[in-house]
């Protein structure tokens, strides 16, 4: 992405996803899109705007309100050589299709002796903060990340969204592609040339020396903002963006913490049994002798996400929650800040 001849354009996360879908529809005739209202209505979040008109109803198919049915149909199509990209209107509706995803998409390759791969992508937006109430505001990434046979990615910025969606469509395993509603309008630089990411690689989104924050998806944007803010106080925070929850890039996580000796995981899902728990265990196994304090986790309150806005905001982890824990860790380890750096210019 940093090569000199590459030019970047600033686009939204939404646009990046759209561009990736369009790119793949044009590149590979086996790529098809399925989902509720993705055609005529152009998608609830307008990711598929214009694609029905451009590629026709055989490639861009509106489905009935029947998640189990159309996910199952996509699995069948994938087994027969297509590369379906399913959009489930929200992550919350994937629960209806869970049997198809967990029992079939994830297992077919292994259970039938590798006779047929299941190259499909299930895209779905999730996350809270939109006042959509408890059943429409969930972060269920752990449910999917727990299942062998699935790959689970959760990009935090437009460039990764595009590069990972290209990679997911071209991957021969079923990929759960998690989008966060609050990211759709965020902007970032995306290379104009085709860039395909490697699934399973975390990114050091910001380098630092004093403490590592590990996060993914929306939480990474919070972590980066906090890191920028604390740099003004002479505190150097490294931010590791997981990008892929399965496979998990344990090496990058451990390498960062071996450098900084302190770790905080910031995640939007519930605390117990969450991604933070997995990262914490990873660090025990891979960086124990380098830890100067226990790994800390900052996550959502363990409640059904409230509808009322102030309560919803209180339940979701934010920059203040993260800063508080970072300060506690630094205080506990006798940290003295370096000379303050000038504030980074905001993007």
């Amino acid at each position: 992405m940093t090569s000199e001849q590459t030019t970047n354009t600033v686009i939204t996360y939404r646009q990046a996803l759209h561009d990736a879908l369009r790119n793949e529809l044009a590149r590979d005739k086996n790529v098809i899109l399925l989902g509720e209202e993705i055609g005529i209505f152009e998608g609830s979040y307008k990711i598929t705007a214009g694609l029905l008109a451009e590629f026709g109803p055989e490639r861009v198919r509106d489905t009935p309100i029947a998640e189990e049915g159309f996910v199952g149909a996509a699995i069948g199509a994938a087994m027969l050589g297509m590369r379906p990209v399913v959009e489930i209107m929200t992550l919350n509706f994937s629960l209806i299709a869970m049997d198809q995803i967990v029992n079939h998409a994830a297992k077919i390759y292994g259970m039938f002796g590798g006779q047929t791969p299941v190259p499909m992508v299930i895209r779905m937006p999730g996350g809270g903060g939109q006042q959509l109430a408890a059943t429409h505001s969930q972060n269920l990434e752990v449910w999917f990340a727990h299942v062998p046979g699935l790959k689970v990615v959760a990009p935090s910025n437009p460039a990764d969204a595009k590069a990972l969606l290209l990679a997911s469509i071209r991957d021969n395993d079923p990929v759960i592609f998690l989008e966060n509603l609050s990211l759709y309008n965020t902007k970032g630089e995306v290379p104009n040339v085709e860039h395909v990411a490697e699934i399973g690689k975390a990114a050091v989104a910001r380098e630092g020396t004093d403490l590592t924050v590990i996060s993914y998806s929306r939480a990474t944007t919070v972590a980066l903002e906090v890191a920028r803010q604390l740099a003004g106080e002479g505190i150097s925070i490294e931010v590791v963006d997981l990008r892929s929850l399965r496979p998990l890039d344990r090496e990058t996580v451990c390498a960062s913490v071996r450098k900084t000796s302190l770790a905080v995981v910031l995640e939007d899902d519930w605390l117990s049994y969450g991604i933070g728990a997995e990262i914490s265990a990873t660090l025990m196994e891979g960086a124990f002798d380098y830890l100067d304090a226990p790994v800390r986790r900052v996550a959502a309150a363990e409640v059904p996400l409230p509808y009322a806005k102030p309560l919803e905001l209180a339940a979701l982890p934010d920059a203040n929650d993260l800063i508080k824990v970072i300060r506690e860790l630094l205080d506990a380890t006798g940290f003295t800040p370096a000379a303050a750096e000038p504030l980074d210019s905001a993007i």
Partner: protein
Amino acid sequence: MPEVVMPRLSDTMEEGVLSRWLKKEGDTVRQGDVLGEIDTDKATMELESFEDGILEKLLVPEGTTVAIGQPLAVIGDGSGTARPEAEAAVSASASSVPSTPRASAPPVPKPTPAQPASSPAPASADARPDASTRRLLSSPLARREAVRHGLDPTTITGTGPGGRIVRADVEAAIAAAETEQPPVEEEPQSTGRGTQPDQPPSSAQASVEIPLTQMRKVTAQRLTESAEAPHFYLTVVVGVDALFRFRSEVNERFADQDVKVSVTDLLVRACAVTLRHHPQVNSSWAGDKILAHQRINIGVAVALDEGLMVPVVTGADDKSLNTIAAQTQSLAEKARSGTLKLNEFSGGTFTISNLGMFGIDNFTAVINPPEAAILAVGAATDEPYVQDGELRSRRVMKITMTSDHRVLDGAIAAAFLSELKRTLEDPLRIVI
């Protein structure tokens, strides 16, 4: 008025049975007198008096099980005013809670309350046990850094939550050690930085802290381990006129071959040949079994400024006297210069400790674990004795064997000792 309390006789002991009283109420007792016998789960031990006085009251009948620290008897001045609270405490002695040591309690068998071996780790950060029982809290990184810099974590003050040692504390300790390092000539055996005394000695100070050398630490640790073995002691008096004559003869006859045999060398050889016939003495305690050693390796205790070293003459029963003599001399020199190799001070199966050259008549040595026995050798002295109705004089030496009762019983140790006496008194046996 001092109480006699149930002593702690082994690391694992929590209570003992007062099996027999050897003194009765009203008896005059002196310090060191045996008052009675105590059965622990491992052995029968003697209950010694640490006081002079009148045994005023026996507080427990024979056969009573008593927790460590609970009173057993009262020694007074004879006025007969046994302390009522002491008796009250006995009636409650079924509970294993040791009584709080009182100011007047005898100082030596301090009833250390049995600590639970390890208290369960507290689940929450604020439910910490008090400082005396708390384990050392340290972050993994701090521990690693401390080890890397050769610092003892117990000497570092932790500033993290609950006193946890964190990296910053280790770095501070490293910096302090570097700046504090006084320009004194370091002893070769010193354990390095971080152990220097904080203050130079001054006459105003009542006492001066001397940091432990590694060797002192090891010596202390090994001797503490030794306390776990139930010791018993057997002493014999050996007539050594023949032995000393033999030694002079050998040294004179073979002076041209540079042979110089010491009493210790004769003892090494004598013990080795005697051990051949007493394999049980050449054994050690291994927790759930006894190891009977096939080789006879005799250790010779050497006192150094830093602590004790016990270089070992391996296969001593297969070596000639002059080989042993050459070897003990070279081992002792190496021990003094700190150049002993690991294999030269390990693998011993029996140890001799000779303090005769210091004029010590008789003493008991502490077992060098895991060996089963150690021989303490006193000075050779002249003593009068009667033979055929006439008063004569002879040279004698008292040797005392300390035995681990878990491995050796009295009769076996006695049989060995008596054969050793025979060998020493008839020195030609030594060369066989």
